[in-house]
Symmetry: C2
Subunit: 715 residues, 2 copies
């Protein structure tokens, strides 16, 4: 594990689409609510030096470059510089080499000199709002994270000041001091704040930290013109003292359009002061849960894997948004990182392992909204024929973008007439509904829900069959026809920015194996519903898919990326969908398919084909663009299903990608072109990595026990 | 009047702290809610060329500089550029020389080719919410402005598309299409939108305008990933057609902290769609009122003055914020331009002429909040003595900053221990309360309010006396003692960024004349309340002040900027406060003072003293920093009270300052250092210019008739 410590990470409450991002040098972190990237706020965390009168801080704010004069913050007011308002600078930054960091999913700790700064993020399951005890629900979704600032002054001879604060980047509101009994705090508008209940701490606003650290007059601390807010405490000589803070978020009013919602936490909190008080009152429990979670993570995983998993969980939580519709119904959204597409279905199917282990009701909630509003019926195009053939049910790529729910039956992304990025993903999303629903059913046994969705399961089967071929006799189990919405274009897969090897949906190997898996899960779901005939049809299609894949092997036993279209690129995600039958607890009835895919993987996993020079995995032999979320998932399949040993060299390479100086600003990112994050930055999808924690053959149940530290079924 | 047309101007509803800023080239305008500067959004306004298939637009968006490749908008998605998603560019910008503009306070019109684009802003008085008919109030404060796009295709042989749209700069929400019966529109989040009720217009979202102008498929128009929204209509050959739009703003939830409020318009509008429908339904009345207002403006003023007044009124309205407290009480705020200080009292006293003519209840509302929450009692410092002497009532500089109301009795600005910018303005704000209240009383005859404030008037008198000298016998009518809150510092005046000639409060000539005026208005207010003794004391102080000023003349009859402290700079604002007795309708009982000030002005108004080389007025002979709002006010005094002719050369210079390429981005700005706007940019204070419209000796009554186009008293 490299010892680079300067990378941004989310410190996020659950379901608030909010994050306190920190770790990249300069003014590159801070409070983000609903943002596509870090907020780029300066954060001030520091301590007075032992000698007194000067200060050292973590390097999370910017000074003017060496040699350039600092802009006078008061220059817009005192335009001719008559006022001599500035103080000499007394706060320097710790040298990078003096800073240590240790990050888990719950706790992120920095140490420099005798300063320790810890951020605690909640790592919890969210109970079903329709069933939950209100106190449990409130605690799970309180929009706050926690911080601890510790100074060890046991060797010191003088009292030393310690501080924590920020300059807010909101364009519409100024900085303020909180005015609430029992709280000392600084905030911006009614939306973001840092507060403590420690009465020994003072708060102030100024253009520069020196004026708050050493105020000439307490009356000058409420300088609302100042854009910088600090909380300051004093550690006496001989003392080791910890100050505790809550970092709160609050968004009032209507949150989304298309479907009108507000944040569900508004049920419990009327303002940010309520949030801060709640968070401080529950400090001990939240912080100890965070520590316990990290201990479980580290016990099961190598340092590289524990770190990547922690990083991914953080980015996932920072993208979650628990809303409440006008009628009080909860609405769960995972926003798609820098793109902020809402509940992108091909991400949902990757988040499903984590979500079913943590809070399966969110999976059901998303599946239901796809049925209710984001499904449609479509025909299929027949090549060289103007008349379409019947298709059937499909699902949209997403539910909208950045708080704007898209119209009924439409995504915010899909466009007709295309063959690449932004084309339709109808078939892939249809598979994703079946797979996600299948896993949900397996792990909840929610037969009432299954019964209520009987028609949907049957419609999915009919549509999958029709998208294979309109004549049963000519079906091969693999998607062969593009939806009519493409209007002459071609459907794509989730790998929208890759070449045809993974980007084209029709006859794609990745999608063929996924269809095989979906048919198997469909078979079981329909069996459970007593739909014997449908179950049989699904089984037939699964077997056809397996046969088609096996028949596609070339003389060396290798599989082409696109079957029967002359695209002989080699792809790792051929194996991806092997995860679903295993995760669903199905017996392995297709050993030949598994063996063929295992052989394929063994053959392609080498430099020049599906490995980069640094040992990192390359999803397609013909593309430089590789996606970490999918690598993690395929690593799980390779190790636990295909029996390969852990590829520690690859793990080190993947860590290095994330820590690359050009990438580290974006916290966890997915799409890496030769190790550079060029898309899918600041992204939630990496939680596929939690599967690494499973060693047995009941991965989801095992995950639930590991993640929640309690056995049994969640809501 | 220069013919530069490329300058930003506000197009603002009243009381929404919102503006649609437009006019500076590039992506430099757009929707601003509660901002300190323009929103920097690209705005698209254009028409298809006569030949068809190419388009010309006003230059309010940016292309990459010549020779540099345009960033592909889809590059973050289609990371390797495989999708061929972009279309060739077909929209060019009109050459600057082809664009004409004509701006009043109500209508701002551009013409280029056969395209005409007009923006209509409401210019109305706001009725007292506690008394008003709800329909009238709703209409006055609806948070919208209007637009008209006209294409003259009478000579054309082909149908031509016309378009209007924007890319939103909000960091938290994406662009969307409105989904409301009767509206076609594009918006961002729930906060900003452009819409029409014209059923022939279509709306779309894309990365580039070409995809919306010529959609390959109507289903592709709802591309929520796209950051650009356009409304498009078609003008048939042989037709001259106008499309009408509403430009709406909406801010939900808690608006301010310190005092919790929401926008008062929330009483009438539940969402931005309500706002847009209302604005479109009232299009005819709002636009004809705007035209009529501009006609009255142009009838009374030279082109230069009409333009500056229009510009100033726009910037003022864009800074206004009508809020509602939790108990339903209205709360009126004027935000201080780029500084966003709330109800800065030394601006209130400059806005008072406009506000009393338009809606005097807002003046009372502000005065009351100063009494209720933003007043304090303070002692005065005695030089070389540690024991303070009694002072008395004072008012804070402001009520907070950028939606954060400051704590009770505190401004967001004032700091102790200073002698320049950010020091206390206790004495100046005390005078400002007296002058503002005096004008309010004169023009409303609101004796019930006067009676309710009897104690405040008496406290003001006592405090003014004490700030002169603690012994009556040693008083000279002029402020001689700094408040104890200065803690050894010195009070300043509103001219906080100037040198001592205008910046120092103690013994300042500007403040001395202001004190004389305040005592006169106080005398009348106390007389009206039957407080004979208080009225006499005020009269004595006014006479002492006049005598002190007259005695300060040097051998040439010139007055020093600071009396008796050896600061012999010459200042124009010596005459500023002559406005108050005249505006209050008092008889001229101090002809000698008036003559002395007139002589002083005559003597200093020359290059090298109080004129710049370009003929612009220079407020202080020792400072390069001159303020337009105060120049306007002093011009009124010079012309209507001191009998000087209009200085048309100065007007031309002042216009040139505002249109300077470095200044034109900020709409109307106040502080000009040798013609460059370096502070007080994007500023509301220039409405002092409305006084130019008055020719008689009842300026406020005359203004009311001119501005409202109806005689009689407002609420």
């Amino acid at each position: 594990m490299t010892d680079s410590v300067f990378y941004n990470a989310h410190h996020a409450p659950i379901g608030a689409f909010a994050t306190f991002t920190l770790g990249f040098p300069g003014s590159k972190g801070g409070f983000g609510i609903e943002l596509a990237k870090p907020a780029d706020e300066p954060i001030y965390i520091g301590v007075e030096d032992v000698g007194g009168g000067s200060y050292s801080a973590l390097p999370f704010f910017s000074y003017a470059p060496e040699g350039e004069p600092e802009k006078r913050a008061e220059a817009d007011y005192d335009v001719e510089g008559l006022a001599e308002f500035s103080r000499p600078r007394k706060v320097r930054q710790f040298p990078p080499s003096a800073v240590r960091r240790n990050m888990g999913a719950g706790v992120d700790e920095w140490q420099a000199g005798d300063l320790t700064f810890r951020l605690y993020s909640p790592v919890r399951s969210v109970p079903d709002p329709d069933k939950a005890d209100p106190d449990t629900l409130r605690e799970a979704i309180a929009p706050a994270v926690l911080a601890e600032l510790t100074v060890d002054n046991r060797e010191g001879a003088k009292p030393r000041r310690a501080f924590f604060g920020f300059s807010g980047a909101s364009r519409s509101s100024g900085m303020r001091l909180l005015d609430e009994s029992g709280l000392v705090g600084v905030g911006q508008g009614a939306c973001t704040a840092i507060a403590t209940d420690d009465r020994d701490v003072w708060a102030g606003l100024a253009f520069q930290p020196e004026k708050i650290l050493e105020p000439s007059d307490d009356d000058n601390l409420a300088f609302l013109v100042g854009n910088l807010g600090l909380l300051v405490g004093v550690v006496k000589p001989g003392e080791r003292r910890t100050f505790r803070f809550a970092i709160g978020f609050f968004r009032d009013g209507q949150t989304t359009t298309g479907i009108e919602t507000r944040y569900l936490y508004r049920r419990f909190f009327g303002c940010i002061e309520d949030v801060l008080k709640h968070a401080l009152a529950n400090f001990a429990r939240t912080s100890s849960e965070a520590e316990a979670f990290d201990a479980r993570l580290r016990e099961r995983l190598s340092p590289e894997r524990a770190w990547m998993t922690a990083h991914a969980i953080r980015s996932y939580f920072g993208s979650t948004q628990l809303l409440e519709r006008e009628d009080g119904q909860p609405l769960w959204v995972v926003n798609e990182g820098e793109y902020r597409m809402m509940n992108t279905f091909d991400l949902t199917v990757d988040h499903v392992f984590f979500e079913i282990a943590m809070n399966p009701w969110t999976v059901r909630n998303v599946l239901d909204l796809f049925v209710e509003r984001y499904s449609y019926e479509d025909d299929v195009q027949v090549p060289c024929q103007s008349e379409p053939k019947p298709g059937g049910l499909a699902f949209t790529h997403d539910m909208g973008v950045a708080n704007a729910f898209s119209p009924r039956g439409k995504s915010g992304y899909e466009q007709s007439g295309l063959t690449g990025c932004f084309s339709y993903m109808s078939s892939e999303e249809l598979l994703n509904w079946v797979l996600t629903a299948g896993l949900y059913l397996t792990h909840t046994g929610d037969s009432a829900w299954a019964a209520s969705r009987r028609g949907v399961f049957l419609d999915c089967l009919r549509s999958l069959e029709n998208r294979d071929h309109w004549e049963d006799a000519l079906r091969n189990g693999v998607m062969g026809l593009d939806g009519a919405r493409c209007r002459g274009g071609s459907e794509i897969t989730t790998y929208d920015s890759l070449d045809a090897s993974l980007g084209q949906a029709r006859n794609n190997l990745y999608l063929a194996v996924k269809a095989w898996a979906a048919y198997l899960l469909l078979e079981r779901a329909l069996s459970g519903l007593g739909e014997t005939s449908g179950a049989c049809r699904a089984r037939v299609q699964a077997e056809r898919a397996a046969a088609t894949i096996l028949a596609a092997r070339d003389g060396c036993g290798l599989l082409p990326a696109v079957i029967g279209e002359g695209v002989d690129a080699r792809i790792i995600p051929a194996i991806e969908a092997l995860v679903y039958p295993v995760a669903a607890g199905l017996h392995d009835e297709f050993p030949e398919l598994r063996a063929a895919l295992g052989y394929h993987l063994e053959s392609v996993l080498r430099t020049g084909a599906c490995k980069f020079a640094d040992g990192g995995w390359k999803l397609s032999s013909t593309s430089r663009n590789s996606w970490l979320s999918k690598i993690y998932l395929c690593q799980f399949v390779a190790e636990r299903i295909l029996g390969r040993p852990i590829d520690a060299e690859a793990d080190r390479a993947h860590v290095a990608w994330l820590l690359d100086r050009d990438n580290a600003y974006y916290a966890w990112s997915d799409q890496m072109v030769e190790g550079k994050a060029v898309g899918s930055r600041y992204y939630p999808r990496g939680v596929t990595s939690v599967l690494w924690m499973c060693s047995g053959n009941r991965p989801i149940a095992e995950l639930r026990e590991l993640l929640q530290s309690r056995p049994g079924r969640a809501d």
